[in-house]
C-alpha cells in the first residue's frame, strides 16, 4: 500500500487537494479518512452522513462542506486505458460520485449557491475532453460497433449527477446561468460527436433540460446546433450525434409558438431539408422525418417548401434512401391539408410514377402501397382528374414489363381502384394509351422499313459500282494485250458483255470505286 503511492503523481495530487480543504469545525477523524488511508477504506462514516443527514442546522453546514469536498475529490481524473492502474483510487472516486448522485437525488436543501460553481467545475473537468479520433477511420455508423468510452464507469456517474442536479426541485436557473454559460454549452455540444451511444443519450437528456430551464441560452443553443448541422452537411459529413440533436429539436419544434417565426422556417429550409442529402441518412432519418412532420403540423404553409425540397434532393442512385424518402412522403401526406396537396400534387405524382417504374422492387412496392392509405386515397380521389393521367401510362406499361409478380398484383389493385373512382376517365386514358401505342409501333415499323430500304439501296449501289469497276478492268486488260487480239475481236466483242457473275463474288471484291 505504501509502495503504491510512491511514484504516482495522481495520488500526490489527490492527497494535497484533500489536505488543502481543512476547515474549521471539521468533525473528528474524517479528514484522516480522506487521506492516503482513505484509499483503502471503502465507505467512510462521512459518506453515510452525506446521505442520511436530515437535521437542518450545523449538520447541514457540514453537509454542504462535505459535498464540496466530495466534488473536489471527484475532480481528479483517472486513466482507464490502463485497466489495472489505480484500481483503489478509481473505486473511491466511483463511490464518491455515487454518494453525490444519491445526495442530489434524495436530500432537500443541498443545493446552495456556493455549490453551483463547484458542481459545474467538477462536471466540466470530467466530461470536457478532446474526443479521441475514431479507431476505425472507415467507421460506418450502421454497420460497425462503436468504440465505447473507456472511462464510462466514472463518466456515467458524472452525467447522472449532472442530470439529477438539473432536475432537482431546488435547482435555480438564475443561479446556474452564471456558470452554465455559452462556453459551457458549446463544449457540451461538441461532446455529441462521441462514438459512445450511452454518452450521447445522457447528453441528449441533459441538453434538453438545459434548453428547457435556461431560457437565455436557447437562441444560442439553436444557433450552435445550426452550425453543427451545416458543417455536417457541407463540410465534414461526419458527426455522430445528429440523431440525438434532432430528437431534442423535435421536442423544441413541437413547442413552437404560432405564428411560426421566420427564423424557424429558415432553419427548416436551409438545414433540415438539406440534411436529407447526407450519406448516413438512415441513422437519423426517423428523427428527421419527425421534425419535418412536426413543422407541417405547426404551420401548413411550409408544406410546399418541404415537398419541393424533398423532390429536389430526391436520391437518384441510392435505392435505400429512396425507400426512406417514400416513407417520409407518406408520413407527410398523412397530415397534409387538402389545399396544400393540390399545390404539389403534380410534381409529386410525377416522381411517384418514376418510382413505380423503378426496377428495384422495394421502391416500386413502397410507392404503390400509398394507395392502401385511406387518407391519401381520399386526396387522390378528389383530384383524380389531375393525378390519373400522370400515373396511368406508367402503371399500364410497368404491369406488362415488370419482372416482379408482387408488383404486378399491386398495380392491378391500383388500376382497379382508379377504375372504380372514375370509369370514364379511365376508359378515355386507356383508349388514348392504345392509340399512342399504335402510333409508336407504326413509327417503329416505318423506321425499320426505312433502314431496310437504305441497306438495300446501298447493296444495289455497291453492285453497280463493282460491275462498273470490272468493266473498266476488262477494257484496260484488252488494251494492254494490244492488237493481236483484234482478229478474234468478233469473238471477244461478243464476250465483251460482262458475264453475269454471282453477286457473292462481287461482295468479296475489295475494289470499291468511290
Amino acid at each position: 500500500m505504501e509502495g503504491e503511492d510512491q511514484g504516482s503523481p495522481i495520488f500526490i495530487r489527490f492527497d494535497s487537494i484533500v489536505k488543502g480543504t481543512d476547515g474549521p469545525g471539521e468533525p473528528r477523524g474524517d479528514e484522516r479518512g480522506l487521506g492516503v488511508e482513505g484509499l483503502q477504506a471503502p465507505s467512510t462514516p462521512a459518506a453515510s452522513r452525506l446521505v442520511q443527514c436530515n437535521e437542518p442546522d450545523a449538520p447541514v453546514a457540514e453537509l454542504h462542506d462535505l459535498f464540496c469536498k466530495k466534488l473536489q475529490q471527484c475532480c481528479v481524473l483517472f486513466d482507464f486505458l490502463d485497466c489495472v492502474a489505480d484500481l483503489k483510487g478509481k473505486e473511491i472516486k466511483r463511490a464518491a460520485l455515487n454518494e453525490l448522485v444519491e445526495s442530489v437525488a434524495t436530500s432537500r436543501g443541498v443545493l446552495i449557491e456556493p455549490l453551483y460553481p463547484e458542481a459545474i467545475k467538477m462536471i466540466s473537468v470530467n466530461i470536457f475532453r478532446t474526443l479521441p479520433p475514431s479507431e476505425n477511420p472507415e467507421f460506418d455508423p450502421e454497420e460497425d460497433e462503436p468504440t465505447l468510452e473507456a472511462s464510462w464507469p466514472h463518466l456515467q456517474l458524472v452525467y447522472e449527477f449532472f442530470l439529477r442536479f438539473l432536475e432537482s426541485p431546488d435547482f435555480q436557473p438564475s443561479m446556474a446561468k452564471r456558470y452554465i454559460d455559452q462556453k459551457f454549452v458549446l463544449q457540451l455540444l461538441e461532446l455529441f460527436d462521441s462514438e459512445d451511444p450511452r454518452e450521447r443519450e445522457y447528453l441528449k437528456t441533459i441538453l434538453h433540460r438545459v434548453y428547457g430551464k435556461l431560457l437565455g441560452l436557447r437562441a444560442y443553443i439553436r444557433k450552435q446546433i445550426n452550425n453543427i448541422f451545416l458543417r455536417f452537411i457541407y463540410e465534414t459529413e461526419h458527426f455522430n450525434g445528429v440523431a440525438e440533436l434532432l430528437e431534442i429539436l423535435g421536442s423544441i419544434i413541437n413547442g413552437f409558438a404560432l405564428p411560426l417565426k421566420a427564423e424557424h422556417k429558415q432553419f427548416l429550409v436551409r438545414v433540415l431539408i438539406p440534411l436529407h442529402t447526407a450519406k448516413s441518412l438512415s441513422i437519423f432519418h426517423a428523427q428527421l422525418a419527425y421534425c419535418v412532420v412536426q413543422f407541417m403540423e405547426k404551420d401548413a404553409t411550409v408544406t410546399e417548401y418541404i415537398i419541393r425540397g424533398l423532390l429536389k434532393y430526391w436520391p437518384k442512385t441510392c435505392t435505400q434512401k429512396e425507400v426512406m424518402f417514400l416513407g417520409e412522403i407518406e408520413e407527410i401526406l398523412d397530415v397534409i391539408e387538402p389545399s396544400q396537396f393540390i399545390r404539389i400534387q403534380e410534381p409529386l405524382f410525377k416522381q411517384i410514377a418514376a418510382c413505380i417504374s423503378s426496377p428495384h422492387f422495394q421502391v416500386a412496392e413502397r410507392a404503390l402501397y400509398f394507395w392502401n392509405n385511406e387518407y391519401i386515397l381520399s386526396l387522390i380521389e378528389e383530384n383524380c382528374q389531375v393525378i390519373l393521367p400522370l400515373v396511368f401510362a406508367t402503371l399500364y406499361r410497368v404491369s406488362k414489363e415488370h419482372w416482379n409478380q408482387t408488383i404486378v398484383s399491386l398495380i392491378y389493385n391500383v388500376l382497379k381502384t382508379f377504375m372504380e373512382m372514375n370509369s370514364k376517365l379511365f376508359d378515355d386514358l386507356t383508349a388514348s394509351y392504345k392509340v399512342e401505342k399504335q402510333k409508336e409501333m407504326k413509327r417503329e415499323r416505318e423506321r425499320t422499313d426505312l433502314w431496310r430500304g437504305l441497306e438495300e439501296y446501298q447493296e444495289r449501289r455497291m453492285q453497280m459500282l463493282t460491275e462498273a469497276a470490272r468493266n473498266q478492268r476488262n477494257l484496260q486488260e484488252r488494251g494492254e494485250r494490244g492488237d493481236p487480239l483484234n482478229p478474234s475481236s468478233p469473238q471477244t466483242a461478243q464476250s465483251d458483255q460482262p458475264e453475269p457473275k454471282p453477286s457473292g463474288a462481287s461482295t468479296g471484291a475489295g475494289e470499291s470505286a468511290t
Binding site: L215, E247, G250, N254, Q362, K416, K424
Partner: protein, 373 residues
C-alpha cells in the same frame, strides 16, 4: 362495305339474337334475391361484372372478350343456381372461355395468372372444371350474338351512309359505353311486372313455346339505344335519320303489306326504344360524371414483400423527450453572442413576421458555401 350486305348480316344476326338471351325467369330470381339470403343478388352480379371489366382492361383483352364473357355469365346464372362462393370461379371461367375464342394465342393470359391477379382462392384445375361445365351447359360452340355485334354493324351501316362523319362517331367510345351498361343487370332484362295491354303496341316475338308477352331487352335494342344516345350528343340530325331508317328498314325489307299490318317480326317500336334510351342515358350520365365514387378498396389484398412490410411504420415511434414550449419572452433574456454575422434577410421566407430580437442567423462563411453548393 356494301350497304346491302350489311343489312343482310344485320337480319341474320337478328334472327339468331334470340338464342343467346339469358332465361328471363332466371334473371328475375337474381334481381329479386335478398341480400341476406344465400343466393346471388343483382348487386353481386354487377360487382362480378365490374371485376371482369377490370381484368379485361388489365390484360388488354378486347371488348369482344368482355361482352362474350358477360353473355356467358348471364346465361349461366339464369340457367343454374349458383352459390355465391362459386361466383368468382364462374365469372373467371367465362372470361377465360371467351378470351380463348377471341384473343390471339400469344395475348392469352395463362389461367394461374388470371387467378392470382383476380385474387381468387381456387386452383387452376377448379377453373378448368368450371369451364367445362359452363361450356357444356350452354352448349358453347361459337361466339354469341350480343349487343356488341349489333353495335359494330350499326356503326358500319352509319358510316356507309355518312362517310364524312367517320371521325366523330367513335366505335371505341360506344364500346366503352356498352361496357358501362353491361355492368348493370337491368340491361340484361326488362323490369319485372310490365303489363301488356291490348292498346299497347305489341312487342311480340313469337318464340317457340314461350310466353308471347316476353319483354326482354334485346341486344339489338340496347345497341340501337346507345347509338342514338351518342348521335344525340353529337347533335347530328342526319345520323339520327340513319338510325331511324335502321329501325324501320327491316320491316320493309321483309315485304310487309301495310293493309294487313300484322305484328312485324323485326319491328322495334318507338316507345320501347324511347324507354330504353332513357335508361341508357341515365346509366351513361352516371358513368361520365366527374364525381368519383368512393372505391371499395377494402376488398383488395395488398401484399408486399417481407422487407417492405418490415419497413412500413417501423419508425413511427413516439418521441421520449417532452415538449419544450417556446415562450415569447425567450429572446429578451438572450445574451448576445457577439458573433459577427451577415444579415440573411434577402432570402428570408416570410419577412413580414419580423425577425427575432437576436438578429441574423447564419454565419457568413457557411452561408456562402450554401449558396455555392
Amino acid at each position: 362495305m356494301d350497304a346491302v350486305r350489311l343489312m343482310k348480316e344485320l337480319r341474320v344476326n337478328y334472327e339468331q339474337e334470340e338464342d343467346f338471351l339469358p332465361r328471363e325467369a332466371g334473371l328475375n330470381l337474381i334481381v329479386s334475391a335478398q341480400q341476406t339470403g344465400g343466393q346471388i343478388t343483382a348487386r353481386s352480379r354487377d360487382v362480378t361484372v365490374e371485376d371482369l371489366w377490370s381484368l379485361t382492361s388489365f390484360f388488354g383483352y378486347s371488348t369482344q372478350s368482355f361482352v362474350q364473357a358477360v353473355s356467358l355469365l348471364d346465361r349461366f346464372l339464369a340457367m343454374m343456381r349458383v352459390q355465391p362462393k362459386h361466383l368468382s370461379c364462374v365469372s373467371l371461367s367465362c372470361l377465360h372461355l371467351a378470351a380463348r375464342v377471341t384473343e390471339e394465342e400469344c395475348d392469352l393470359t395463362p389461367a394461374d395468372e388470371l387467378i392470382r391477379i383476380g385474387q381468387c382462392r381456387f386452383t387452376v384445375s377448379d377453373l378448368g372444371r368450371m369451364e367445362k361445365i359452363v361450356a357444356e351447359k350452354l352448349r358453347f360452340k361459337s361466339k354469341a350474338v350480343t349487343a356488341l355485334t349489333f353495335l359494330q354493324l350499326y356503326h358500319q351501316i352509319t358510316l356507309t351512309h355518312a362517310t364524312y362523319r367517320k371521325e366523330t362517331l367513335s366505335l371505341e367510345k360506344l364500346e366503352a359505353q356498352l361496357k358501362a351498361c353491361l355492368c348493370r343487370i337491368a340491361f340484361s332484362k326488362a323490369k319485372v311486372g310490365r303489363a301488356v295491354g291490348p292498346a299497347e303496341p305489341l312487342w311480340v316475338r313469337p318464340h317457340r313455346g314461350s310466353d308471347p308477352a316476353r319483354l326482354s331487352l334485346q341486344p339489338s335494342v340496347l345497341a340501337l339505344a346507345l347509338l342514338r344516345q351518342e348521335m344525340k350528343s353529337l347533335q347530328s340530325e342526319d345520323m339520327l335519320e340513319i338510325a331511324f331508317h335502321i329501325q324501320r328498314h327491316l320491316k320493309e325489307s321483309l315485304g310487309f303489306n301495310p293493309p294487313f299490318n300484322p305484328p312485324s317480326r323485326f319491328q322495334i317500336p318507338d316507345a320501347e326504344l324511347q324507354r330504353w334510351s332513357e335508361r341508357v342515358a341515365r346509366c351513361l350520365s352516371d358513368y361520365a360524371s366527374p364525381k368519383c365514387s368512393k372505391p371499395n378498396h377494402r376488398k383488395l389484398q395488398w401484399i408486399v414483400s417481407r422487407r417492405t412490410a418490415q419497413n412500413l411504420h417501423s419508425h413511427r415511434s413516439v418521441p421520449e423527450l417532452p415538449t419544450i414550449p417556446e415562450g415569447c419572452w425567450d429572446e429578451s433574456e438572450s445574451e448576445d453572442s457577439g458573433e459577427d454575422v451577415m444579415s440573411s434577410g434577402d432570402e428570408s421566407l416570410c419577412s413580414s413576421l419580423g425577425s427575432d430580437a437576436e438578429g441574423p442567423f447564419f454565419p457568413l462563411h457557411l452561408r456562402r458555401q450554401y449558396l455555392a453548393a
